[in-house]
Symmetry: C2
Subunit: 339 residues, 2 copies
C-alpha cells in the first residue's frame, strides 16, 4: 500500500510506493532510432491486448461499434496512489503520514503504437482532450480529492516506461506544492494589482512579441520570461478561464490544433525530443475564480539539472527564451506535412 | 553576460546564461566502465595543465613547495554568474531582472584524475572541507552575497561535464528558494515547539533506528522520512550548529571520515552511482541562529523524475527509506577496503 508522507520541515508531501519498482519497462532501441512499428503484439496498450490492462474506465469509439476504440482510459496497473483508504493524518513522533489515497489513470491516446501527438489528426487530439475533461469531471465527485494533475511523459528520458502514446492523471487529496506556489503568487499579484498575472502576461507577451511561439484566436504559446528549462513552453487561453474542465468542448478543436502545432514545431526543431507536459488546472474546491488561470506547461528533457539546481531550486538555463522562441517560430509548419 | 530573472508569479529566480552552452564536455566511455586513467593529458584539472584554468584563487599544498598542490580552487571558466555587475533590480513591464551577479568557483579535490571521494584518504577529504570553509569565509565579505551553495556533481547523469573529481560553489545575491523553504519551515516549527526540527530529527531518528545509515560521535546519516529520491541521504551534526563555515576545523577530521564512509557505502550498494551532494549552510546575513542547522544532502541520480514530479512538485519514491537505510547499513565497510 503506498503511503503519503509529509516532510516535517518543508511540509512537502512525498509518495512512497515500493510496489511501483516492479512495473515493466518496455523500451527497445527502435524507440531511439524512431523506427517503432505501428503495432507491437507485446504492448499492453495495443488493440487486441485489452485483457492485459485493468478493466476499462471509459473509451471513445467511432460510432456505436463496441470494439475499435479510439481513446481508452484504464487504471494504472502499478498505481502511485490507490482509491481505497482514508485521508486521516497519522502521527509518529514528529512525522506525519496518511494512506496513499488517490487515483492514477492512463489515457491511451491512439490505437497506433508508434504515433506522437504531433502526427495525430486534429480530431484524435481533440478526443484525448475530451477524455481529460470527462475524467476530471467524474473524479472531482469524490470529495476526498482536492486536485487532479494530467500529465504526459514522452520518451525514456522523460520518465516514460512504455512506448505506446499515453497520458496519465493522478487525483490527490491535497493541492500539490508546485500548484500552490502559483496560487499564492496569483493571490499576491491580485492583491497588488487587482488583475490576474496570466491575463497580464498574455497582453504583455503579445505586445513584446519576442517570446511568442504561436498564437491562435483563443490561445497563446510563449517561452516564459524566467524559463527554467531550454525550450520550456507555456500554452494558455487568452481569456481568464480558471478551469480546463469547464471549457466548452467547441473550443477543443482549436486547442487540439494549437497544441499539435506547438508540439510539431518542437519535434521538428529538436528532432523528436523527450518531453513532459502537465496541465495546470484549478483546484477542485476551496478556491475562487480569481485564483487560477489554467495552462499547459511543456518541458523538453534536453538538459540535466545538477547539484546546484537540486540544492537551490534555481535553474541555470543556457538557452534564452527569446532565442528558443525564435527557433520555434521559424520552423516551417504546414498542415500538409502532417499525417 | 548572464541575467537573473524573476518569475512574475512564483517569484522564483532563474539564471539565464547563454554562454554556458559552449562549455566542453569531456566524457569518455571509460567513465561508465570505471576504467579511467589516474592522469589524462587533456584534462584541464590534471597537474601540469594549470594554465588551462583561469588563475588560481587558492590552493592547499603539502609543506612549503610552490608546486605540487593537493587541492586547488579556480574560477569556473564558463560561469553561471559573474562577479562584475549590480544587484539593482530592473523592471520591464511586469517582468523583473538583474545582472547575473555572483561567484562560481571550482574546487579541484585531488590531483588524481580517476578518484572518487569514497577512495580518497581522510586527510585529503579534510582538505576539501577546509577549502569549502575558507572560500565561504572569504566570499561572505562581499556584502552583495546573501548565500553560498557548495555542491558536487558526480557522473554525467548528475550533470557533471568533466570527469576529474571536483566540487563547485556559487555565491548568490539572494537566499535560494529551496533553502528559504527550509528556513520558513524551521521558523514555523520553532514557533510551534520552541525547538529546532533538525535537532528533534536527530533525537527521534536515533531512537527509531530504522532510517539510520551511520552514526559517529558528532554526526548522523539518515534516509529522510519523506525522501523524494531513492537512497536520498541526509548528514547532519548532532548539535545545533547553524553554520558549516563556523565549525572548528578539529571536527573536520571526523566529518571527513564520516562523509567518506557514507559515500563508500553508497558506491558499494549502488555500484558507483552518479550522484549530487549539496551543502545547506546558513544564509550569510539577516538570519539568527535558531533559523538554521547545517546539513549535507546526497541524492543518487538513479531515478528519472517525470511529468508528475515536474508539474506537482510531489516525488514518487519507489524505495522506502527504511529499506534503503537497511541496505546501506548492511554494506560491509572497513578502513582496509579503501586506498
Amino acid at each position: 500500500m503506498p503511503e503519503l508522507r509529509k516532510d516535517p520541515i518543508t511540509f512537502e508531501w512525498v509518495i512512497i510506493a515500493g510496489e511501483r519498482k516492479d512495473r515493466p519497462h518496455n523500451f527497445s532501441k527502435a524507440w531511439e532510432n524512431g523506427e517503432l512499428p505501428p503495432y507491437d503484439k507485446n504492448c499492453p496498450f495495443c488493440p487486441g491486448n485489452e485483457h492485459l490492462t485493468p478493466p476499462e474506465i471509459m473509451a471513445l469509439r467511432d460510432g456505436q461499434a463496441s470494439t475499435g476504440w479510439l481513446v481508452r482510459v484504464v487504471p494504472n496497473k502499478y498505481p502511485a496512489l490507490r482509491i481505497e483508504g482514508s485521508t486521516e493524518r497519522v502521527g509518529k513522533g514528529m512525522f506525519d503520514y496518511m494512506d496513499g489515497v488517490g487515483a492514477h489513470e492512463v489515457i491511451i491516446e491512439t490505437p497506433i503504437h508508434n504515433a506522437r501527438i504531433s502526427v495525430l489528426t486534429i480530431e484524435q487530439v481533440q478526443r484525448v482532450l475530451v477524455a481529460y475533461k470527462e475524467r476530471i469531471l467524474d473524479l472531482q465527485k469524490d470529495t476526498r480529492f482536492l486536485y487532479i494533475l494530467v500529465f504526459r511523459n514522452e520518451g525514456k528520458e522523460a520518465g516514460a516506461s512504455l512506448h505506446h502514446p499515453h497520458s496519465q492523471l493522478i487525483a490527490l487529496p491535497f493541492v500539490p506544492h508546485e500548484v500552490m506556489l502559483e496560487i499564492e503568487g496569483m493571490k499576491r499579484y491580485y492583491a497588488f494589482r487587482e488583475r490576474c498575472p496570466f491575463c497580464d502576461m498574455v497582453r504583455e507577451e503579445i505586445s513584446f512579441g519576442e517570446r511568442v511561439v504561436a498564437e491562435s484566436p483563443n490561445f497563446l504559446a510563449v517561452e516564459p520570461f524566467a524559463s527554467k528549462y531550454p525550450f520550456e513552453t507555456l500554452i494558455l487561453p487568452k481569456l481568464h478561464h480558471p478551469s480546463f474542465a469547464d471549457e466548452n468542448e467547441c473550443i477543443f478543436e482549436e486547442f487540439a490544433s494549437f497544441l499539435r502545432e506547438v508540439l510539431a514545431r518542437m519535434d521538428k526543431a529538436l528532432s523528436n525530443p523527450p518531453y513532459n507536459y502537465t496541465l495546470h488546472n484549478t483546484p477542485l474546491r476551496g478556491h475562487n475564480a480569481n485564483d487560477f488561470h489554467w495552462h499547459l506547461e511543456i518541458i523538453p528533457r534536453i538538459s540535466t539539472p545538477a547539484g546546484f539546481e537540486l540544492g537551490s531550486g534555481i535553474y541555470i538555463n543556457t538557452v534564452p527564451p527569446e532565442e528558443s522562441a525564435r527557433i520555434l517560430r521559424e520552423v516551417t509548419y504546414g498542415e500538409k506535412e502532417l499525417r
